[in-house]
């Protein structure tokens, strides 16, 4: 079966965050884990400890900054005086330091590239030439199943490097829990991957075969590392001076294990493939694929009825082929449509509307406050204000708008739904009957398709009242314009809001 995540990352179903069984292996504060006494000096010299002070935005008080959080991760020296690590090690950083092996001096660093969709980053020390003479690690290939690998890093906050040994137990598409949305190839190992290991290299025969990044919760000794193919995709992507991210096909698909389903789709006995169920408007596939199409092959690989392909000895979700593409490169699909077998070239593009389903980093939340009414986009961080189990406990109408509604009315995915998140109480707004977690449908008669529409509707209005109409339950309210204009600055001042909008 397909799923929203199919779109972005081509495997699995969008779960809304509650079933993601992995934790990020940052935040190393506890003691433990043996220090490797006789670590290979050459390798040790290439591995750094990274200390970050991160300050993520606050979804519930979007004008506010949260308390800085210190955490520790690992990294390793690659070419060009850069250090590779995980995106989650350096996300939202305000002060970043790296420690070279055996050197207690903190060296300030900055983020050069960060890829939140595949949890990789490149950082560089501010001090020119700091890494000169330090050996850069070289990348190898995807390690074989069952082969031994070693992880290196600074787990649990220790000052000395630690290494653990394990075997490659599984290679498959996996949810990258940093973004919470994207699936890419990941390698599972029983080598211990603990908080602090994040961003550290996984080595085999002296070459980097992966970057440690997450571990499964609830399972013993199940850690994951990012394989060379994903790392190379990232390095190639930034070669042009821009990180574009992974492109998305823009379709959900259904598997066709049932012979009747294949027969009805017009497939011959010797054919296999998957059915296109939904095409996102303005996505790569829009206009090129249609619901009901059968994807028989991708880039020359036949697709099985369960949506997998064979790559060497590995049976992998076909999304692994989409992942080989950079933005702009054409995907070649063999498609069965109305008894015709076609070759369809899909120029692969990123699909921004789906990013609202991913965790957001580095960019602070968008908001607009008018007379104490706090408007924000409906996205994952807004819904996370309902708590950890937001995907089940958040208001049903918000969940419906976020997860379901555009499937019946696809153009809605192109909009940015806006929510009246909360109210900063003031006499001018305190009589409003509704002011919390409401989908904003219209303001002063204007349909709201993005946050900027709210601002325009408010600022262009010359009537005596501002009329707010909310979706689903036909709730509505007004505030008096002049009183609200007057209250506007008072609210900002008394609640310590530095600025009324961030767009």
């Amino acid at each position: 079966m397909g799923g929203l995540a199919d779109m972005q990352s081509n495997a699995g179903k969008l779960t809304g965050g509650t079933r993601i069984g992995a934790f990020l292996v940052c935040l190393a504060l506890a003691l433990g884990s043996a220090v490797l006494a006789d670590a290979d000096n050459r390798i040790e010299a290439s591995i750094v400890r990274i200390l970050t002070h991160a300050q993520p935005g606050s979804a519930y008080a979007p004008w506010n900054s949260s308390a800085p959080q210190q955490s520790v991760g690992s990294g390793f020296i690659v070419e060009d005086g850069l250090v590779m690590t995980n995106a989650h090690v350096v996300s939202d950083t305000r002060a970043l330091f790296l420690y070279l092996s055996g050197d207690p001096t903190p060296h300030e660093a900055k983020v050069r590239w960060v890829a939140h969709d595949c949890d990789l980053a490149l950082i560089e020390p501010l001090e020119a030439g700091l890494l000169d003479g330090k050996p850069a690690l070289q990348f190898g290939e995807l390690p074989l199943l069952g082969s031994a690998v070693e992880t290196y890093g600074y787990p649990s906050g220790g000052q000395r490097i630690s290494s653990t040994r394990g075997v490659v137990s599984r290679v498959e598409m996996n949810l990258f829990s940093h973004s919470g949305l994207d699936y890419h190839l990941a390698v599972q190992t029983d080598a211990a991957i603990n908080p602090g290991n994040s961003g550290g290299p996984v080595l085999q025969n002296g070459r980097v075969v992966g970057v440690a990044f997450q571990a499964a919760t609830g399972l013993e000794n199940v850690g994951y590392f990012i394989p060379p193919s994903v790392v190379r995709h990232f390095l190639e992507d930034v070669e042009d001076g821009n990180y574009d991210g992974y492109p998305a096909l823009g379709a959900t698909t259904a598997t066709l294990e049932n012979p009747a389903a294949r027969s009805r789709s017009g497939m011959r006995e010797d054919e296999s493939g998957i059915r296109v169920d939904f095409v996102f408007p303005q996505s790569s596939a829009d206009g090129l694929l249609e619901p009901g199409d059968v994807i028989l092959g991708v880039d020359g690989y036949p697709v099985s009825n369960d949506g997998t392909i064979m790559e060497g000895d590995l049976r992998l979700h076909f999304g692994v082929l989409l992942d080989r593409h950079q933005v702009g490169s054409p995907l070649e699909l063999r498609v069965l449509r109305a008894a015709e077998r076609l070759t369809v070239k899909v120029p692969m593009q990123a699909y921004a509307p789906l990013r609202r389903y991913a965790n957001r980093y580095d960019d602070l939340p968008r908001y607009y406050i008018y007379a104490g009414l706090v408007f924000v986009p409906l996205n994952r961080e807004m819904l996370e204000t309902f708590g950890e189990d937001w995907a089940s406990v958040a208001d049903k109408h918000l969940l419906n708008e976020y997860f379901e509604r555009f499937m019946a009315d696809p153009d809605r995915i192109l909009r940015e739904p806006v929510v009246l998140l909360r109210r900063l109480d003031h006499p001018a707004n305190v009589s409003l009957a509704w002011y919390r977690n409401l989908l904003v449908e219209r303001v002063n008669g204007r349909e709201i398709h993005r946050l900027e529409d709210v601002i325009a509707a408010i600022e262009e209005n010359r009537d005596e009242f501002h009329l707010l109409e909310f979706g689903y339950y036909k709730r509505f309210g007004v505030i008096e314009r002049e009183a609200a204009d007057e209250a506007h600055l008072q609210v900002l001042e008394s609640y310590g809001v530095p600025v009324d909008r961030r767009l």
């Binding site: 397909g2 799923g3 294990e257 049932n258 009805r264 189990d389 049903k396 379901e404 499937m407 339950y473």
Partner: protein, 521 residues
């Protein structure tokens, strides 16, 4: 009696009547029966019920759950009948009554049941059962302060609690999902809530509806009396419903915006549902100022002469379907009088009903696909927190799309699970999907499913070849296809393998006895 009320609203009123109360108190004290006498009296009114029940297995709707037993109370009323709550006798396979602490049990049967108002009348056919029992009088009004006497049999001992009156307020009756006033008390009973009768002296003031810790909620005498009278008359026991979406009208700006140049009062109508009583009479953005002669304040309360502020919905809870009531609204810049005929809106007419009226779940197992009607009984298989724990798409159906929007609309149909077989390979993990079409035919009942599966889609040669099941738009699966040629054979094999006594149970024929006067907006 006579205990000062902590409720400011009632305190004022009770001051006026205090001399009366003292007089009454004196009279009662003068002639009050001793405790022993009171015990005797309650022994004559209250009986214990032991109900063996067996609910339907909502996940496997062809089967029933393990039988279990609940112990509860009933009270003897004129007839004589035993009055209890509908929930107590729901899905009963055997009802046994015990009287006066005797070891003997008597078999009882349900005479009338209304799951919405959550009351039932039961009967013991052997006249000897009623010897030594006396019908209780149902009070005309319930005390607003002081205490009531709650009584139940506990291990054949009469257990009595002086339950302190806290409030009278309008709430949703959790079993039946209708609104009316409840008497809230603090009781000494441990784990009550099973229809324990409460008395004011000799008169019945209510049956306990639920209890959390020591706070019990009592269905008040007015509701019991209405129910018993209507059953006696042979008329419908349904409660009329306004079926409005409304909001408070406390905001002076909003009332001014609507052109109402007075202090805010009344409530603001947001939506009038097509199936409801007020449909085509009340309109969206009316300010409802008065209903049935009572002024409504800006948070939706009216002043009940004895009970103080109660939510206005209580005004129709005690009226009957068919009665005409008047309303005063502010619309188009002026106050207007309107009137409308009250209609019942039984839960059964919802697209996703809350309860199923003690009837078994309609279902169809076709090619191993288990289809059933979506209702509250099914949703509650996810526990009391089903609103969060049930699959999101199903909870959304209940909350956002649970009302019928057309007169002929019936149920949402859910493909609840698949009984795995080689025939339905590829779909073994499909579960909890709202099904909108089968073979191109729109589906909103099990009957529709049955007829749609009789009309397979054809192949290129025009031969019947496929069953195509289409789901409500979702990001998981748009449709699934089964082979129509081997459908019958596979269905029979699967039914046999999984021990299904029958592959289909259609719903009771439903002829809505209320009309949609207008389409929902």
């Amino acid at each position: 009696m006579g205990r000062p009320s902590s409720r400011p609203g009632l305190g004022k009123r009770s001051a006026r009547f205090r001399w009366k109360r003292w007089l009454l108190f004196a009279l009662l004290v003068g002639f009050a029966p001793g405790l022993a006498e009171a015990r005797t009296r309650y022994e004559e009114h209250v009986v214990a019920l032991s109900v063996t029940y067996q609910a339907w297995d909502e996940d496997r709707p062809w089967a029933k759950m393990n039988p279990a037993t609940r112990n509860a109370s009933a009270v003897v009323i004129a007839g004589p009948f035993l009055l209890t709550r509908a929930q107590i006798v729901a899905n009963a396979t055997l009802i046994q009554a015990e009287r006066r602490g005797d070891a003997q049990t008597w078999t009882a049967r349900v005479v009338h049941i209304d799951p919405e108002i959550d009351l039932a009348l039961i009967q013991v056919d052997e006249a000897a059962f009623f010897e030594g029992l006396r019908p209780v009088k149902i009070a005309k009004r319930i005390p607003t302060e002081g205490s009531v006497t709650s009584v139940r049999w506990n291990a054949r001992q009469l257990e009595i609690s002086e339950s302190r009156v806290s409030t009278i307020e309008v709430g949703l009756n959790r079993y039946g999902n209708v609104e009316h006033a409840f008497l809230e008390v603090r009781t000494d009973f441990a784990s009550g809530g099973w229809a324990e009768p409460s008395f004011d002296g000799a008169k019945l003031v209510g049956l306990t509806s639920s209890q959390e810790d020591q706070r019990a909620r009592i269905v008040p005498a007015e509701v019991l009396r209405d129910y018993v009278e209507r059953v006696a008359e042979g008329s419908s026991t349904s409660v009329p419903r306004l079926d409005l979406l409304w909001q408070n009208n406390q905001d002076p700006s909003l009332t001014r915006y609507l052109g109402f140049e007075e202090e805010p009062r009344g409530i603001l109508i947001r939506e009038v549902r097509g199936s409801g009583t007020a449909c085509s009479v009340l309109e969206s953005r009316d300010i409802l100022l008065e209903l049935d002669g009572h002024e409504i304040d800006s948070i939706g309360n009216y002043l009940h002469p004895r009970y103080g502020n109660l939510r206005f919905t209580n005004l129709v809870a005690h009226r009957r379907p068919g009665e005409v009531i008047a309303a005063r609204v502010f619309r188009d810049g002026r106050e207007q009088e309107v009137e409308f005929e009250l209609k019942a809106y039984p839960s059964q007419l919802r697209r996703v009903p809350w309860r199923r009226d003690n009837s078994p779940p309609p279902y169809l197992v076709a090619g191993g696909l288990v289809f059933r009607e979506l209702d509250g009984e099914f949703l509650r298989t996810w526990g009391s927190e089903w609103a969060s724990n049930a699959p999101r798409n199903l909870a959304i159906q209940y909350y956002l799309y649970g009302h019928s929007t057309r007169p002929d609309q019936r149920r949402a149909i859910v493909l609840s699970s698949v009984l795995p077989d080689r025939y339905n390979i590829g779909y073994h993990d499909v579960a909890d999907m709202i099904t909108t079409h089968v073979n191109g035919i729109p589906i909103d009942s099990v009957d529709d499913l049955v007829s749609a599966f009789a009309q397979p889609q054809t192949d290129a040669n025009g031969e019947p070849a496929y069953h195509v099941v289409r789901f409500a738009p979702n990001s998981y699966l748009a449709e699934l296809v089964l082979d129509a040629r081997t459908f019958e054979e596979a269905s029979a094999r699967i039914a046999d393998a999984y021990g299904l006594p029958a592959t289909v149970r259609t719903g009771p024929p439903e002829e809505p006895d209320i009309a949609f006067d207008c389409e929902a907006p």
